[in-house]
């Protein structure tokens, strides 16, 4: 569980995040949604400690991140997996080396055990270890890169998983596969998972706990079931931006009127 309390963050005097408080439970998908530029990435990177914050608390099971020294932060980071917007695989290493990297860096496992663990993680994300292992990231598709990145993120059995727009740049079918995969892994290992997204399909598919960010403030919080009945203007603008969801709203309103 991660608790954020009254978080403020500015860049060069410009407030990007204002008074954000939220609780992220383990074993379910927590989503941070909002328009481009609303501050999702900054919020995520602040929670992980990649950006220093102005004020507020970020509690990882009672441990307050802003108070941690470099060493404590390092230890915490070994419990964190992150999936970046562009996969961020190390392009000088093969697929299997990428997945083994955190193991080689921080585990005391033997070479053989590391290879086995890496192969297990690749299988877990539905990749064929034998075929993909020797390939370089540039030799596989975007969807496969995302999967390899997930495999690398779960290699050390993280307690916390962060995903910054995991399905941007993917076709709807592959995007769904990635979403489902993250959801399965979250439930299976009871991970505290936070996903940044502005993809409505993804929100409707896996959004168990949703936080809506509008211009750096938390404008709404709820579940995917509640999102259509939220009565929040900014949220409605966001949700009903696409024609598909405009149609859904019309039918909803019709049924309400009848």
């Amino acid at each position: 569980m991660i608790e954020v309390k009254n978080l403020y963050k500015s860049f060069d005097g410009e407030m990007v995040l204002k008074d954000i408080s939220a609780t992220f439970e383990s074993g379910i998908i927590n989503q941070i949604i909002g328009k481009s530029g609303s501050g999702k990435t900054v919020l995520m990177k602040s929670i992980i400690g990649l950006f220093p914050i102005d004020s507020g608390q970020i509690l990882y099971q009672e441990r307050n991140l802003p108070n941690m020294n470099r060493n404590e932060l390092k230890l915490l980071h070994q419990e964190v997996g992150m999936l970046f917007q562009g996969a961020a695989l190390f392009d000088s290493m093969t697929v299997i080396e990428n997945v083994m990297f955190p193991l080689e860096m921080f585990s005391k496992k033997s070479k053989q055990e590391m290879i086995e663990r890496a192969r297990f993680c690749l299988e877990r994300v539905n990749l064929q270890p034998d075929t993909v292992s020797p390939l370089f990231p540039s030799e596989i598709s975007g969807g496969m890169q995302k999967r390899v990145a997930i495999a690398r993120a779960i290699a050390l059995n993280p307690k916390y998983l962060f995903c910054d727009e995991p399905n941007s740049g993917l076709d709807p079918v592959t995007a769904l596969v990635i979403d489902r995969l993250i959801e399965e892994i979250t439930q299976e290992y009871n991970i505290t998972t936070i996903i940044n997204t502005h993809d409505m399909n993804s929100i409707m598919e896996i959004g168990a706990h949703i936080i809506f960010i509008e211009k750096g403030t938390k404008a709404w919080e709820g579940s995917k079931e509640e999102i259509f009945t939220a009565n929040n203007e900014a949220l409605e603008d966001f949700v009903f931006a696409s024609n598909l969801y405009k149609k859904i709203r019309k039918t909803q309103q019709k049924t309400k009127n009848n």
Binding site: H77, M82, L89, D91, E104, M105
Partner: protein, 246 residues
């Protein structure tokens, strides 16, 4: 140009770089790779340039000092000392700043903009130490070898002129390159090259590490790396010569 805050950020980055590696085994694997990439892969160009520069320098000194009062062997001596004092360390380092510096800056800059550096930090890896330290140490270790090679090839170029033309008799050339040899010049050259190696690797890494934006910005970072490490080398050359030779 180097502003004061840039200098400050550079110092902070170097502090993070020069710490104990998170994992010595990984460092041990990185180091030889970097030595190959930065040092061994530069051998070819250094050989070619040093041979031709040695040849042309000898030709120029012969052509411009034709006088009955200057002994002919002195042309060999001038070539040797120029190679030792400046060419093999300073000029070669400027050359490496172009070749190796842009390579380092674009590699690290690409890792920055594609969030690979963030990925390292998130895993709990000290990214500055992991990426930069092997490059700096690797290049410093290669420098003495490259300097020695450059001096040797420069003299070889001169020898080529002695053999292939009638501009200087072979015996005079051989006598000249041995005449009044000051071994300390060699030490001086090696010491300088160690500083220059440090400058090239660390300054270029700095510009790559703080790249921000897209592919164009990586190109800009790599230009900045070459320009600023060259300037730093030239300044350092003056300082070191003042300290070591006067």
């Amino acid at each position: 140009m180097l502003g004061l805050d840039t200098l400050g950020r550079y110092v902070v980055l170097m502090k993070r770089t020069f710490t104990k590696p998170d994992n010595w085994r990984m460092f041990g694997r990185q180091l030889p790779r970097e030595m190959v990439k930065l040092g061994v892969d530069s051998i070819g160009i250094i050989i070619i340039i040093s041979i031709f520069m040695g040849a042309i320098m000898l030709m120029q000194t012969i052509l411009n000092t034709e006088s009955p009062f200057i002994p002919r062997y002195s042309n060999g001596l001038i070539l040797r000392d120029t190679m030792l004092l400046e060419f093999a360390s300073s000029i070669m380092s400027l050359l490496l700043a172009g070749k190796v510096g842009s390579n380092i800056a674009s590699e690290i800059g690409t890792m920055r903009i594609t969030e690979q550096i963030d990925a390292l930090e998130i895993m709990g890896v000290n990214s500055a130490n992991y990426l930069i330290l092997p490059k700096v140490i690797g290049l410093i270790l290669c420098m003495p070898v490259l300097v020695t090679l450059s001096v040797f090839c420069g003299l070889l170029g001169g020898l080529g002129i002695a053999v292939l033309t009638d501009m200087i008799p072979m015996a005079d050339f051989i006598y000249g390159i041995q005449y009044a040899f000051i071994p300390y010049y060699f030490t001086y050259s090696i010491i300088k090259s160690l500083f220059f190696g440090f400058i090239i690797a660390s300054v270029s890494s700095f510009y790559g590490y703080y790249a921000y934006g897209g592919a164009l910005d990586v190109g800009r970072a790599s230009t900045n790396a070459v320009v600023n490490s060259s300037i730093a080398i030239l300044l350092m050359n003056i300082i070191l010569t003042r300290i070591l030779l006067t």
